[in-house]
């Protein structure tokens, strides 16, 4: 009799498992997605690489949109402009400025206009002496917190570099240099265009060549610029013996 009860109980448990098997599978998949490092991210940000920038307003169901943030150099001034849409929770915009990209100072607080229209904002930075500046745009929300919106790098230096460049095309990662250009590098007359750390094209100083086959140089005044390394081929007899 006891055996019969055990058989019946086991049969019911088995039926229950079979009936809910599909649901268990779904739950399992959901758990995997949540536990995946970037799983939750996929729903939150703009993945398509569209030109407009969408920033999820974390405190609201509506999406705040920053269409652009740009800077134009006119003489010693920099005109900053940006376009925003669906400013549901925005109170104002904070512009921060930095000379080196690590120490930022508050430059201005610009009041927000309206809730849902497209609004264009401008701010003129009159205190821009020659050099490179970083501008950071933040959204101040109604709860008093700030949201980073965008970064801008403006180079206010007017230097004609056209005669100094080895090639007009930027090197992405690495590029080959001809023997003639090597001579110019050795004299310190040539520069090359490369991508900086933030994806901007910048002319870089190249290290001079000496008897070693590898030379590396870091620019101590720019924290975001990569080091530049020149590897030179020598003849086999000149090649250093590696211990």
């Amino acid at each position: 009799m006891r055996l019969l009860y055990i058989y019946i109980f086991s049969f019911i448990v088995l039926l229950h498992i079979l009936f809910h098997a599909g649901n268990f599978t779904i739950l399992k998949n959901e758990a995997i997605i949540k536990n995946t490092f970037f799983g939750s991210f996929l729903n939150e940000t703009n993945q398509g690489g569209a030109p407009t920038e969408k920033v999820k307003d974390l405190g609201s169901s509506q999406e705040f949109q920053l269409k652009y943030f740009k800077g134009e150099k006119i003489d010693s001034k920099v005109i900053l402009s940006w376009e925003a849409e669906k400013e549901c929770n925005s109170v104002s915009f904070l512009i921060e400025k930095s000379f080196n990209g690590i120490a930022f100072k508050e430059l201005a607080l610009v009041a927000g206009k309206s809730k849902n229209e497209k609004n264009v904002y401008n701010f003129i930075d009159t205190c821009s002496v020659t050099g490179q500046f970083f501008y950071r745009l933040k959204q101040k929300k109604s709860d008093g917190t700030y949201n980073n919106l965008d970064l801008l790098l403006v180079n206010n230096t007017k230097v004609d570099i056209s005669g100094l460049l080895i090639t007009g095309e930027p090197c992405i990662g690495k590029c080959n240099i001809s023997k003639a250009s090597l001579d110019e590098i050795a004299k310190g007359n040539k520069k090359i265009l490369m991508l900086d750390f933030m994806g901007n094209v910048v002319p870089v100083d190249l290290p001079g060549l000496n008897k070693t086959r590898i030379n590396v140089k870091y620019n101590p005044t720019d924290y975001f610029q990569s080091g530049v390394l020149i590897a030179r081929s020598l003849t086999k007899t000149q090649t250093k013996i590696v211990k």
Binding site: T36, F37, F38, S40, F41, E44, T45, N46, G48, G49, A50, P51, E53, V55, K56, L58, S98, N100, G101, I102, A103, R136, N147, N148, L149, L151, P170, C171, I172, G173, N176, I177, S178, K179, L195, F197, M198, V201, L209, N210, T212, I214, N215, V216, K217, Y218, P220, F224, Q225, S226, G227, V228, L229, I230, A231, R232, S233, L234, K240, V242
Partner: protein, 310 residues
């Protein structure tokens, strides 16, 4: 009688064979040494071949971009990302004494990145700990001379002044590279750069994960951090090109690990656009679920280097 003749013969045999055996031992030793020398020559030849293969022709050159110790930490600060002490616990509290030149050089690179991290986020107590470790490693690597010692002294003086310290650190790096090239130890310079790379990538991917977990990962971070991830792929390709020139066992082992990392970067399937008008890289995207594998790999790899179990 027969026995005594045998003993006598045996004794004579020993006497005669002894110089032969000695000669044989010397000959075998010589052959072994010669074969080792042949092996070394072969390795050097391999190295030159790899080099010539890379550069196509003699007296041509390739320009590479390489990471610096301040880039990732400066970028984290630029992006307003919060300081995370947990990421530096392992290096800060580590008491390992590194024995090989390889371990010292790669850990010097790692510790230099960590120094910039704690300085940029104003952790002055940790800055001094890292500075002492760096000073010790530069001494052990014989990197201290009349040009580098004054720069190291300046570094300690400016330990709480970010701007001056960063300028001085990059100057120090230039001087150390110069010293290494002059003493024909350029491969040590590359190992230090590999240390910058590994620690930078470790910091970057771990902060990326933390932003994700805290659900504060907006497109502001995505747009900027994706650019930096792409840059890491370029650095890796440069490092692999350069490291393959050196047949040293430790370097080749490092190279093999970086090749694995390169495969993981390939799986990211990075896409990007280059705007001619703006002269900048834009819209860098990749398969983000694959980035976790890079983060796990580099964290474990870095841990083995720091604990000298690599």
């Amino acid at each position: 009688m027969i026995q005594s003749v045998r003993n006598k013969y045996k004794h004579t045999e020993k006497k005669v064979l002894k110089p032969f055996i000695s000669a044989l031992v010397i000959l075998v030793s010589f052959c072994l040494i010669s074969s080792c020398q042949n092996d070394t020559t072969e390795r050097i030849s391999d190295s030159s071949d790899a080099y010539n293969e890379m550069l196509l022709d003699s007296n041509q050159a390739v320009v590479y971009t390489v990471p610096t110790p301040v880039q990732i930490t400066s970028a984290l600060k630029l992006l307003d990302i919060k300081y995370s002490d947990e990421f530096i616990q392992e290096t800060k509290n580590n008491k390992t004494s590194y024995v090989s030149t390889f371990s010292k050089a790669i850990n010097l690179g790692i510790h230099l990145v960590d120094l910039t991290y704690v300085v940029i986020y104003d952790n002055s107590q940790a800055s001094l700990i890292y500075f002492d470790k760096i000073e010790k490693l530069t001494r052990e690597l014989d990197l201290q001379n009349n040009r580098t010692i004054p720069v190291l002294t300046k570094c300690k003086k400016f330990i709480t002044n970010k701007d001056s310290l960063f300028y001085t650190l990059l100057t120090l790096q230039n001087e150390m590279d110069r010293k290494l090239f002059e003493s024909q130890k350029e491969e040590v310079s590359l190992i230090i750069i590999a240390g910058f790379y590994i620690e930078g990538l470790y910091m970057l991917t771990n902060h990326y994960e933390k932003l994700m977990k805290n659900k504060t990962f907006t497109s502001f971070y995505s747009n900027n951090l994706n650019n930096i991830i792409f840059q890491q792929k370029l650095y890796l390709e440069s490092l692999l090109d350069l490291l393959k020139m050196y047949p040293d066992e430790d370097i080749q082992k490092l190279n093999a690990s970086l090749v694995k990392l390169q495969k993981q970067f390939e799986e990211l399937n990075i896409r990007y656009e280059f705007s001619d008008k703006e002269q900048r890289l834009k819209n860098v995207t990749f398969d983000k679920d694959k980035l976790v594998e890079i983060k796990n790999f580099v964290s474990s790899f870095r841990s083995s280097i720091v604990n000298d179990t690599y």
